[in-house]
Amino acid sequence: MSTEIDRQWTTRLRKRLTGKLPPEKLLPDTQPAYVASWIYVFGVTTLAAMGVVIGTGCILSLRGPQWWHESGVGHFVNSLHLWSVEIFFFAMIVHLWGKYFMAAWRGGRALTWMTGVVTFVVSIVTGLTGYVSQTNFDSQWISTQAKDGINATGGGAFFNVLNLGQMLMWHIVLLPIGAVLLTALHVLMVRVKGVVPPFEDTPKTVKAEVAQ
C-alpha cells in the first residue's frame, strides 16, 4: 500500500517540492549576516511596486479603458499606476546592477539571473503595451513610432502596436501573467539557492558550492 502511495504522481511531486523548498527555506526566519546592505532593499521594493502596479491596474480596469479620461478619480488612479510603474522600473534596474556587481549567478544561480533578465524584458514590453493602450495622444504617437522597429523584425505582422484591442489584452492579461509567473519562479529560485555569498578573497580557506 505504502509503495503504491509512494509511486503516486502527487506524492512524488510533494516530496520533490518539499525536498527542494522546505517551509523554513520558503519563509526563513534567519538570514546570513552578510545580507546587510541597502542594495538588498531594491529586490523587495521591486516586488512591492509590482503589487501596487497590479493593484492600480485592476482598479483602472473596473470601469474600462476610457474611465480615466472622464473622471478625476480615474485620472488619479492612472497617476498611481504611472508612478508605481516608474518606481518598479527604477527599483528593478538598481536591483539588476546590484546583482551584477555581486556576481549573483555564482554557485549554481545562473538560472535565477536569467529569469530576472527575462522578467525585465517582459516588463519592458508590458510597459510599452500600456503606453500604446492609453487611448490619448501619447498612445497615438508612441504606437506609430514603435511600429517601424517591430515591423522591421517581421514581428509587426503578429504583434500590431496599432491594434488597441490586441495591445490592451496583452497589457492586462498575457504579459502580466508572464511577468508574475516569472517573478514567482525567480523568487522561488532565490529561496531554494539562498542569497549568493560574498566573494572569498582567500579561497583556500573555504569549501566551494559548485555550479550545477
Binding site: 538570514q31 546570513p32 516586488l47 573555504v206 558550492e209
Partner: protein, 315 residues
Amino acid sequence: MSKKGFRPDVDAPEYKGKYTPYDIIKEGTIALVVVALLTVLLAFVFGSPDERAITIKTWSDNAPVDFATTALSELNGTSATATYGAPYNHNGDGQAIGPLNLAKLVGVHIPIDTAHDFVVGPLRTQPNNPKLTTALATWTTASTSTQTAWLDNYTKASSKMKVVNGNVIVPATNAGPVPIMINDLTQMAQSGALDAALVAGHGFYTTNYTKPLLFISDGTYLAAVAQKQHILGEQWGMMNETGMYPGQPWLWLYTMLYQIPPYSTTWADNADIYVWATMMILTAGLLLVPFIPGIRTIPRKVKVYRLIWREHYEA
C-alpha cells in the same frame, strides 16, 4: 571541491558564518506600505499626462491642405503607408540587414490598399451625393493608365492647393473625378464621418485603429504636434511622453542608438532593423552574462562588492 577546481566567477564559497534574525513577511509588508505611500505622494504632486487624441476631424479642420495632400498621396500610392511594404503591402522593400529582410520574409499579414481603404472605400459610404456617386463610377470603370494620368495631372497642380469656404481648390485640368474625390473626402473628414468609416471596416464593434493611425501618421500634422511636445524621434521621442513626465527612461539605450552614427548616418535607411538587431544581441548578452568570460569577471575585478558587503569584510 578541490581548490584547483574552484572558479571564482562561477562558483560560490560555502558560507559558514553567522545568521541573523530575518522577518521576511514584515520586510515585505513595510516595503509595500512605503512604496504605496510614495506612489500616492508622486501621483498627488505630479499627476499624469492625458493629451487628447487627434482625430481625423481635428486634423482636417486644423490643417485641411495637409489632410487633402495626404489623401492624394494615399490615392496616388506615394504615402509612407502606400509604399511601406510588409506587413501592409508589397509596394516597398522594407528594411534589411544586407540580404536579410525579415519583414519581407514574414510577408503581408495586415493588408492595406491605401487608395481603396483610405479613399475610395470610405467615399462609397457617403449617401445622397449623386455627383460623388458618378465620380466614383467614373474612377472605378477607368483603366489604370487613365487613373494614373488623372492623378499625375492633379498631383502636378497640387502644390497650389488651397481650401476656400470648405472646398479644396486645385488648378488642375484633365484630372477626371480626382478633384471631386479629394474634395469630398476632405469634407467627409471635417464632418467626422471618416473617423467612423475607417474604424468600422470590420463591422459595428471594433478595437482596431490600425487604418486611422496609419492615415494620420502619413500626414505632417501629427508630427507637428509631437514636435511641439518635444517627442519626435530625434528628440528621443520613443522614451518620452507629453509634458514634463519621465516616460519610459528604461528605453534610453534603444532610443539613444537612433541618435548616433552609424545608425543615424550610414545605416539611417535601415536604422530600425539595425537598432533592433543591436538590442537583441545586447539582451542576449545580458541574459548570458553568467557564461561570458570577461563580462562575468568584471564584478570581481572592479570590487564594488566590497562596498556592498562592507560589514562582512570588516568583520
